[in-house]
C-alpha cells in the first residue's frame, strides 16, 4: 500500500503535487528543498520482488529514506519517487532489468520528511536457479558534477 504523504511528517516549507504512478495509481506527495547529503562510505541497499514491491532494506536505506523498516517492507518502491524524476528514467530502468540486464543511473529520492537525496543507483536482477526472483538496487555516493548534470538534464525529459 502506498499512502499519501502527511503534512505533519514534513520538515520545512513544502509544495504539494499529485504523482501519477504505474498502474493508474496516484499519490499526493509533499516535498521541500532540503537536501540530505549522501553519507560517505555507505551503500544504500534494497531488494524488491519482480513487481517492484520492497522485500528488504538495509539500515542506511532506512536512515536516508526516513521511514520505519515496517513502513517500507511491502510498499512499492515508488514510495521514494520524487516529482523531479522524469518517468523516462524509470521506464528505462524497468525495460533494462526485465531483459535481465543491469541498470545504472542517478536518482533523486524523496524522503518521508519531504526532503531529498541524490544517489548513484545500480539495479540488478536476482537470478536463482535460472529464474528472476526479484531485483536488488545498490546505491553509492554520486559525484557533484554528475548530480549537477542531472539537475540540468532531467527537467528536459518530461
Amino acid at each position: 500500500m502506498l499512502h499519501d504523504m502527511k503534512a505533519e511528517d514534513i520538515v520545512g516549507d513544502f509544495t504539494e503535487v499529485t504523482l501519477k504512478l504505474y498502474g493508474g495509481l496516484s499519490r499526493e506527495v509533499l516535498f521541500t528543498e532540503i537536501e540530505t547529503p549522501y553519507p560517505d562510505g555507505k551503500l544504500i541497499v534494497s531488494t524488491t520482488d519482480t513487481k517492484g514491491i520492497i522485500t528488504h532494506v538495509n539500515r542506511s536505506f532506512v536512515e536516508m529514506a526516513g521511514y520505519e523498516e515496517s513502513e517500507l517492507i511491502g510498499a512499492p518502491h515508488s514510495i521514494l519517487r520524487h516529482p523531479d524524476m522524469p518517468p523516462a528514467a524509470f521506464k528505462d530502468l524497468w525495460d533494462t532489468v526485465s531483459k535481465g540486464l543491469k541498470w545504472q543511473g542517478f536518482v533523486k529520492n524523496l524522503r518521508k520528511d519531504g526532503g531529498y537525496y541524490w544517489v548513484k543507483a545500480t539495479v540488478i536482477p536476482n537470478v536463482r536457479n535460472g529464474e528472476v526472483m526479484g531485483y536488488t538496487s545498490v546505491r553509492r555516493k554520486p559525484s557533484r558534477t554528475k548530480v549537477e548534470e542531472c539537475i540540468k538534464l532531467y527537467p528536459t525529459l518530461f
Binding site: 562510505g41 531488494t47 542506511s60 548513484k120 536476482n126 538496487s137 545498490v138 555516493k141 559525484s143
Partner: protein
C-alpha cells in the same frame, strides 16, 4: 583421495601458521587428507581454481561469483563479526579534507586485494575519479601502502580497514582517514568445491561447533577469529549480486 585447501592471498601474514594449524585440525576432525596450498598471488590461485585443483577455499568476496557460478562451489562459513571494509587515507600533511576535493591525476597506492581495491575506488567516485584518471601504485602490503603515503610517493592509499587499524601508532599519527566504508555485508567465506560437496553439512557442523571446543577455540585464536558462522546459499547469492552491482 587428497583434497586441496587454499587461502585468499590477502590474509594477514601473522596468521600464516594459523592456517596450517587449522588445516591439521580440519583433517583430524573430518577424516580427510587435505593439503594446504598457499599461492603467491591471486593470479596463481585463480589458475589453480580454473584447473579444478582446489576443493576448499577461504575466498575473497571478489572471487565468490566465479567460484559459485562457474565452478560449482558452495559457501560453508564466515568469521563471525568480521566484514571486509576499506579505508581511503592520505598523508596527515595533505590539506584535502574531503574525497570530493581530490583531483584527477593523483597517485593511488593499492594492494592486490580485489575487494578492497573495488571498495576504495567506489569511495573515490564522488571526486569523479576512476581507473582511467588516477595512477595506481601497486604495493605488496598495507604497510607499504602507508609508506608510499609517508614518502609522498602516493597521494591516496586504499587499505583494508582491519589492516589500517593494525598499523603502528607511529605510522597512523602521520596519516589521516578520509573515508571508512560501512558496508558490513561483504566478507571472506570458507567455501567448498564439487568433490567435497557430499560432506558439506558434516563439515559445516564441525566448523560451527569449533568454538565450543577448547582445542578448536585455540585454533580459531591463531586465525584471529572467535567463531565460524554458517553462510547459507541465499546469503552468498545476495553478496554476489551486491558485488556485481559494484563492479559496474
Amino acid at each position: 583421495m587428497s583434497y586441496q585447501f587454499t587461502v585468499s592471498p590477502d590474509f594477514t601474514p601473522d596468521h600464516l601458521s594459523g592456517w596450517y594449524i587449522f588445516n591439521t585440525w580440519l583433517q583430524h576432525q573430518t577424516d580427510n587428507a587435505i593439503h594446504l596450498e598457499m599461492y603467491n598471488d591471486f593470479h596463481d590461485q585463480r589458475v589453480a581454481i580454473q584447473k579444478n585443483n582446489v576443493d576448499l577455499i577461504y575466498a575473497n568476496p571478489f572471487d565468490a561469483a566465479m567460484l559459485v557460478r562457474e565452478k560449482g562451489f558452495k559457501p560453508l562459513v564466515k568469521s563471525l563479526g568480521i566484514s571486509d571494509e576499506a579505508i581511503v587515507a592520505v598523508n596527515a600533511d595533505n590539506h584535502v579534507e574531503d574525497v570530493a576535493h581530490l583531483k584527477p591525476g593523483i597517485k593511488v597506492a593499492v594492494t592486490e586485494a580485489p575487494d578492497v581495491h573495488m571498495m576504495g575506488m567506489i569511495m573515490l567516485e564522488p571526486a569523479d575519479l576512476d581507473a582511467s584518471n588516477v595512477e595506481m601504485v601497486a604495493s605488496d602490503t598495507y604497510v607499504l601502502v602507508a609508506k608510499h603515503l609517508l614518502k609522498n610517493e602516493a597521494d591516496v592509499g586504499i587499505f583494508l580497514a582491519e589492516a589500517y587499524d593494525d598499523l603502528s601508532n607511529m605510522i597512523k599519527k602521520q596519516l589521516r582517514i578520509l573515508v571508512r566504508s560501512q558496508i558490513s555485508v561483504i566478507h571472506h567465506s570458507l567455501m567448498i568445491g564439487p568433490r567435497l560437496l557430499d560432506q558439506r553439512e558434516k563439515i559445516q557442523n564441525i566448523l560451527v561447533q569449533m568454538a565450543n571446543d577448547e582445542k578448536g577455540k585455540g585454533v580459531l585464536d591463531s586465525l584471529g577469529f572467535t567463531e565460524w558462522q554458517v553462510v547459507n546459499d541465499e546469503e552468498m547469492e545476495f553478496m554476489i549480486d551486491l558485488m556485481d552491482t559494484l563492479t559496474m
